[in-house]
């Protein structure tokens, strides 16, 4: 009777294992893309990358007058946006739970109306969940008419739950052009 050639058998086994490994490659590719939501979830849960809330927090809190936290402000304008943008004061000392209002100034130096979007970032990253914004110009895009200057308020408080060792928080705003331009 016809016997199976061992070479044919081996070739078949090789092909089978090769295809199995190809599945592994596919799984690794999926894993690579799955890392994107995974990363975002990790960052939201832990506040690792200093992202803060994009919508308003409630103003309900209690004052902890025993402690003081310094909140520093920095600002930058990304390429593609012809604005001046800076905080009116470099820093402010607040008690946790104390609601403070600070002003940022944006000036459109272009001769046309431009919309911008501010992206906040908090450092140290672990402090970001405790930085509560009640009202912020970063919640929506801001449109400035040609050569218009606007003072934009930020109302915030630092949660009393913030770890004891955090004495200074730096809040950075980067203003982007809200209309994607082709480059």
């Amino acid at each position: 009777m016809e016997t199976i050639d061992p070479k044919e058998k081996l070739a078949k086994a090789n092909k089978k294992l090769g295809l199995k490994l190809l599945w592994l490659v596919g799984a690794a590719l999926l894993f690579g893309f799955a890392l994107v939501p995974l990363y975002n979830v990790m960052c939201t849960v832990t506040g690792l990358n200093g992202k803060t809330n994009a919508t308003a927090d409630s103003a309900k809190t209690h004052l902890d007058a025993k402690r003081t936290v310094t909140v520093e402000f920095t600002s930058s304008v990304m390429p593609g946006l012809s604005w001046d943008f800076y905080p009116k004061q470099p820093s402010i000392d607040v008690h946790p739970g104390q609601i403070a209002t600070v002003l940022f100034v944006a000036k459109n130096v272009a001769n046309e109306a431009v919309a911008g979007q501010a992206i906040p970032s908090v450092s140290p990253g672990l402090a970001s969940p405790y930085f509560k914004k009640i009202e912020c110009f970063c919640f929506t895009r801001q449109e400035l008419k040609a050569n218009e200057t606007r003072e934009m308020p930020l109302r915030f408080y630092v949660s009393p739950d913030i770890p004891e060792d955090v004495k200074v928080i730096t809040l950075s705003y980067a203003f982007y052009n809200a209309v994607k331009t082709t480059n």
């Binding site: 081996l10 294992l17 490994l21 690794a28 590719l29 200093g50 979007q117 672990l126």
Partner: protein, 530 residues
């Protein structure tokens, strides 16, 4: 992808001649030769690029090139050396030697093997084509972001970035195909009686390499694909304005990038003990310990990636985790070093060229490993990050640990592959010139880095001038010394003293039981291992 034809093909020795032989070949020796030749050519290409860089850095100020072109040279140099020189060299050895070492007639998937190789030349062309296009006024040159292609710089870059992305895709497919082939070959094609724990160490090194490639290359492919869609299709994976995060790219990149270091080194850690035992005329010390250490390093390599960007502003617990996990890799690595040294300890040593390279490799790679430990220290890294200290460190691991290791392998197996002995005297001169000029190139860079000279900048402050001059002169000496290597290989291929089957007095392993050069089809009847 029918293997049946390839199997029947074994029955007779006829194969096409001329260019068609190389285009259509499914023979593991032919493909191995093509990989190694391609690797050598790209090694010279990548080397010439960096000599341009060193020429610019010879003196402070800008003399020879625009900063943009400088940026292109450093990035493409790295991509060429990593993906087109080191990785194909390791795959070339895998093709040539794995079937011979495990007593298999060929690689398991010969057609795939052919395809895997022929993806490489187009990839190399894609990577370097923008240089040429720029001469004709098309685009602004090759990828100028450094090989890491960090967003947002790479999102804003010119067409060179797109070419690099597609090149990385091709290179990735090629190495994934190669890896699948290696795994199937090792798992299915071993000679009867050769259990996994009787395998040659080279097979172990490559098996783990192949699994690492399969696990991490697709992640890189995904990351550069996201980059591509960010650039052209309005996605915002890495764009903070759209809710993305540029740091995400660094995580994705180094999730691939750190294991990649071990991908480049594990094949060398595989065959190096074989070279050491050959010229020590002793059995390998600590076979099991080495196998377990290779696995441990392979596993640890995928969980330490963030030590490449300690300075992005991670919280302290994350810094500590990545510091300690990175440092823990030095434990299995120390076991390997111990085994390598114990293998030559009290052996009957002789210092032919492969052994010179092997012993020099232990020392120089050791320096690379120890300086890596310094960089793994979070507190110290803040100072050394992105300085020339890092450049010197990874050249000790990848030039000394990688390329000088590959050179040891070339001298070790060249007589087996060609059937001729290479010029021993020239080989020794090549080793000494390489070792001395390599150290002269990179020792000054450690000090430049400690003194604060940043990497990837075409100009530098005046106080760095002397050390940069020394480094540049030595770099040219290092580059020119490699012409001896090329000459020696060419002369060895063309003729020379006949090599015996065993070649080296102390050689152990199946490949030395075959004639030199081995016949086109070998081990059609598999040997039995007791």
């Amino acid at each position: 992808m029918s293997n049946a034809t390839a199997v029947h093909h074994d029955a007779h020795d006829a194969h096409p001649t001329g260019i068609m032989r190389w285009l259509t070949t499914t023979n593991h020796k032919d493909i191995g030769t093509m990989y190694l030749t391609f690797s050598l050519i790209m090694f010279l290409v990548g080397g010439s690029m960096i000599l341009g860089v060193r020429a610019e850095l010879f003196k402070p100020g800008l003399q020879l090139m625009r900063p943009e072109f400088f940026n292109q040279l450093i990035g493409v140099h790295a991509l060429v050396m990593i993906f087109a020189a080191l990785m194909p060299a390791a795959t070339g050895f895998a093709n040539w030697m794995l079937p011979l070492q495990i007593g298999a007639p060929d690689m398991a998937l010969p057609r795939l093997n052919n395809w895997g190789f022929w993806l490489l030349p187009p990839a190399a062309i894609l990577l370097t084509l923008p240089f040429t296009l720029a001469l004709f006024g098309i685009g602004d040159g090759a990828v100028a972001t450094g090989w890491t292609m960090y967003a947002p710089l790479s999102v804003q870059g010119g067409i060179g970035v797109d070419f690099a992305i597609f090149s990385v895709h091709l290179l990735g497919i090629s190495s994934v195909l190669g890896s699948i082939n290696v795994i199937v070959t090792i798992l299915n094609m071993r000679a009867p009686g050769m259990t996994l724990m009787k395998m040659p160490m080279f097979a172990w090194g490559w098996l783990i390499t192949a699994f690492l490639l399969i696990a991490t290359i697709p992640v890189l492919a995904g990351a550069v694909t996201m980059l591509l869609t960010d650039r052209h299709f309005g996605t915002h994976f890495f764009d903070a304005a759209g809710g993305g995060d540029p740091i995400l790219f660094q995580h994705l990149f180094w999730f691939f990038g750190h294991p990649e270091v071990y991908i480049l080194l594990l094949p060398v850690w595989g065959f190096m003990p074989q070279i050491l035992q050959t010229f020590s005329r002793k059995p390998m010390y600590g076979y099991k310990a080495q196998v377990y250490s290779l696995w441990a390093i392979g596993a640890l390599s995928v969980v330490v990636w963030a030590h490449h960007f300690f300075t992005v502003g991670m919280p302290v617990p994350a810094l500590l985790y990545f510091m300690y996990s990175t440092m823990s890799i030095s434990l299995p690595l120390a076991v390997l070093f111990y085994c390598w040294i114990a293998t030559i300890w009290k052996g009957s040593l002789s210092f032919e060229t492969p052994m010179l390279f092997a012993v020099g490799w232990i020392i120089l790679f050791g320096i690379g490993g120890l300086t890596g430990l310094v960089l793994a220290d979070v507190a110290a890294d803040a100072q050394y990050h992105h300085s020339y200290f890092v450049v010197a460190h990874f050249h000790y691991t990848l030039f000394a640990g990688g390329i000088m290791g590959i050179m040891a392998g070339v001298y070790y197996w060249l007589p087996k592959m060609t059937g001729h002995m290479y010029n021993e005297k020239l080989g020794k001169i090549h080793f000494w010139l390489t070792a001395i000029s390599f150290n002269m190139t990179f020792i000054p860079q450690f000090f430049l880095g400690l003194a604060g000279m940043p990497r990837r900048i075409p100009d530098y402050a005046l106080q760095f001038a002397e050390f940069n001059m020394i480094s540049s002169i030595a770099a040219f000496a290092l580059g020119l010394s490699q012409l001896l290597f090329v000459y020696n290989i060419i002369m060895c291929v063309r003729g020379g003293k006949k090599a015996t089957d065993k070649v080296w007095e102390g050689a152990q392993g199946l490949e030395w039981t075959l004639p030199s050069p081995p016949p086109y089809h070998s081990f059609t009847e598999q040997p039995t291992i007791k």
